[in-house]
Subunit: 456 residues, 2 copies
């Protein structure tokens, strides 16, 4: 059923008056869709956070926590502020550990303290520890409710144990074996346990834990490993080699999606990841203005190039006709190369030492592209200004396409080498650089061929 | 262990002479890493496909199939061609159903027939059916080896059944309940089965199947649903409502990654997804030349604008100094808006009917950006040419930033409406359009303020 039909149904039901109907509604739709429909009504102010609170109160605690978890963090916060501290504490106990740490970090300090006081000390410590990791680290996205098994257990006893904790753990399909110092000894999948003999011991069937990540690494490292090794979850170790959490595949998918957003946006010179519809005008202004103003000053170099050749231009003003075309072409070819290279570096498909190999390939490709585009532009040149102009624009085109491509493909490597984000080599930045180079190439070629003396 | 150390170890071991050591090596490293190290040696021609075949022959069939599945399709093909038809048939029987269909489609017809003849007729039909779906449809990425349970089974019997098929199924953590016509009635997770009483029936605990996709939908639809609903796998129905396959989360992650690649690349005007290092010069030329040449012709509009104002330029050649700066700024602001909007449309965060709302927001944001940039450029203008020039460039900047932004944010919506891919609104395309508009705005403003008569 479409979300918009769901919103109409929800509007038709008055939450406090149609309690049974509301419960049925939630039972009959995927919780993610219920949350989406409710969020849409909240966005449009047709419902208020108190209404959603009233709805949550109609549901059993587990369903409450699951539905609540599908709201965006700002709406979670708004709804949480409508709940009593003890209600919120109960709800938090059933939430995914990483999500509740994120929510509590946003709450007003007094409310947060009240909620924490209602929770038992282990849960409280867990929340405080998760909140202490930097926001882009694996620690901030991992969950601490993983299943641990003793290596000496029989499969039968282990299954019995998993059954007893199934409701509270984020996943029971992967369990982890640790020693007394919490050091990770191995992993065992529920599938392997199912096919083993009930009398076998966990130690006999567990896999040596070869794949793990560190708690302080970037989240994208965990997401890439989960994707590469086709894992359900990856164990997270602290600097003392102790198992402190796991990252599950669904969180990894969210991380990968945010990463992709960030890459796409950076390619367009906006450093933003989040919900575009929710972003305020002020936020978007701040995310965009830096690069735009920087590029204005970058463009002074093109201007300076033009000023240097002012007399050439004055004498042969028809050259200006081809100016945007030629400098843009260098920028376009460079944007293509930069985009390909930034993404390949980000996904690890290409690494720093591949630079020379990629460069020689780029030279070939851009030479071919240059020949094609020089042919196209020389026709235009001939039609506008005759054979000499055709020659000038063809030679210029060939050079700017090669130079633009080489700049475009090299800049991400250079930024990477200097420990900047290669993704900053955005199309607009490459365009600005290629413009300045293009102006100089164009008028130099023109001056040589058309035999005008260059003067400042 | 790093992949490059693994490659050195592999090179030190002669596969035919050190069989036991090779088996140990494979047992001690994640299979994905073994495949990566072997692929690297194949790429560098330090190993040949026969060597990998010899290595595979040392492994038990299940491990063989798992390792083989981690190679890229071209290497799978090269290795497969070194195997005897019956070996390949046995290997195929253990491979993921979607992957073996992809591989067999690539084989030389005689070999493919020989392999198919060695397989039983059900498997053969499965391969032929999977191969019949369009390459971007869900049918081409789904797997047909899912677990089916009868609704009348007790949990105890169902667990027993799952145990018996665990080795051959892609996942047993989600099982599917169908009726006699293969219509999907419900889904049941292994977790739910574990916490249920052994004497309960599947029908009592199964979830009504609300979430599914159609076999002919785009793969990104399945990936988005898996991510949204946090699923391990999503059921796939044919047009007769029959359950024909499932898409698992790990395939969904690959699909999402390819999609993200495609978006990033399209933003840079390259329509390419795949491995950049493996791509030939000819392929990359073809992927890039279309947009570059098209944009050359697009730039004729900027040229025509310039030609129209030739006399203005001739009289006041200093105007050319600001030309790249002003037209680029419109393009840069537009690239930012287009990038944000293309991605938001692709992820479903923004839909067609949001256009008016997004437009009014964009007008505010771009007006603010325009004021900032006009201030920056007016300083430059004053320094280069005095108060009048400062006024001309400031007014032009304010207009081009607003117009560029509006074009950038609207074009993806328009392309979407016309059923083109919104991602074609790349930074280079927006730059080209913004250039043409920028030229006209710039010289019109200049003509008005500086009082030059425009003449063709």
């Amino acid at each position: 059923m479409s979300i918009s039909i769901m919103t109409q149904e929800l509007l038709a039901l008055n939450i406090s008056q149609h309690q049974a109907a509301m419960q049925r509604f939630v039972a009959q739709h995927p919780l993610a869709d219920c949350a989406e429909a409710l969020s849409m009504l909240l966005d449009e102010q047709q419902l208020h956070s108190q209404d959603v609170r009233d709805l949550l109160r109609l549901l059993p605690l587990d369903q409450q926590a699951a539905l609540f978890g599908y709201f965006s963090l700002p709406w979670q916060q708004a709804i949480a502020e409508q709940l009593a501290a003890d209600e919120l504490a109960h709800l938090s106990e059933r939430m995914a550990h990483d999500e509740r740490a994120d929510l509590l970090a946003l709450l007003e300090p007094t409310l947060k303290q009240q909620v924490l006081q209602q929770m038992d000390s282990r849960e409280r410590q867990d929340i405080e520890r998760l909140a202490s990791y930097p926001s882009d680290s694996i620690g901030a996205v991992m969950t601490t409710d993983f299943a641990v098994l003793d290596a000496t257990l029989t499969i039968e006893d282990a299954m019995h144990h998993l059954r007893s904790i199934a409701a509270e753990r984020e996943t029971i399909y992967q369990a982890y074996v640790v020693d007394e110092q919490q050091k990770l000894k191995g992993t065992v999948s529920l599938r392997d346990m199912l096919v083993a003999e009930p009398s076998q011991r966990i130690a006999d069937i567990m896999t040596q834990a070869l794949i793990f990540v560190w708690v302080d690494e970037l989240q994208s490292v965990a997401a890439q490993a989960i994707s590469k090794y086709d894992l359900l979850a990856i164990p997270v170790l602290d600097l003392q080699n102790r198992l402190v959490g796991i990252v599950t595949y669904d969180d990894a998918m969210d991380v990968a999606e945010d990463e992709a957003d960030r890459h796409v946006h950076k390619a367009g010179a906006v450093d933003f990841s989040g919900n575009l519809k929710d972003a305020t005008i002020g936020l978007m202004y701040r995310k965009r203005v830096f690069w735009l103003v920087l590029l204005v000053f970058g463009n002074i170099f093109s201007g300076a190039g033009i000023a240097y050749f002012e007399d050439t231009i004055q004498t042969y003003v028809a050259l200006v006709f081809f100016l945007p075309l030629l400098i843009d072409s260098g920028g376009n070819a460079g944007s293509q190369s930069a985009t390909l290279m930034v993404r390949a570096l980000a996904t690890g498909e290409v690494v720093a030492k591949d630079w020379a190999k990629m460069l020689s390939k780029e030279l070939f490709i851009s030479a071919l592209l240059g020949v094609t585009m020089a042919l196209a532009v020389s026709l235009l040149g001939f039609w506008r200004g005759g054979a000499e102009i055709a020659l000038v624009v063809a030679i210029t085109m060939q050079i700017v396409v090669i130079v633009g491509s080489v700049v475009g493909m090299s800049l991400p490597f250079i930024l990477n080498k200097l420990r900047f984000d290669p993704a900053s080599a955005s199309a607009p930045l490459i365009t600005t650089i290629a413009d300045a180079i293009g102006v100089i190439i164009y008028f130099s070629v023109a001056t040589m061929i058309l035999d005008f003396p260059p003067m400042a």
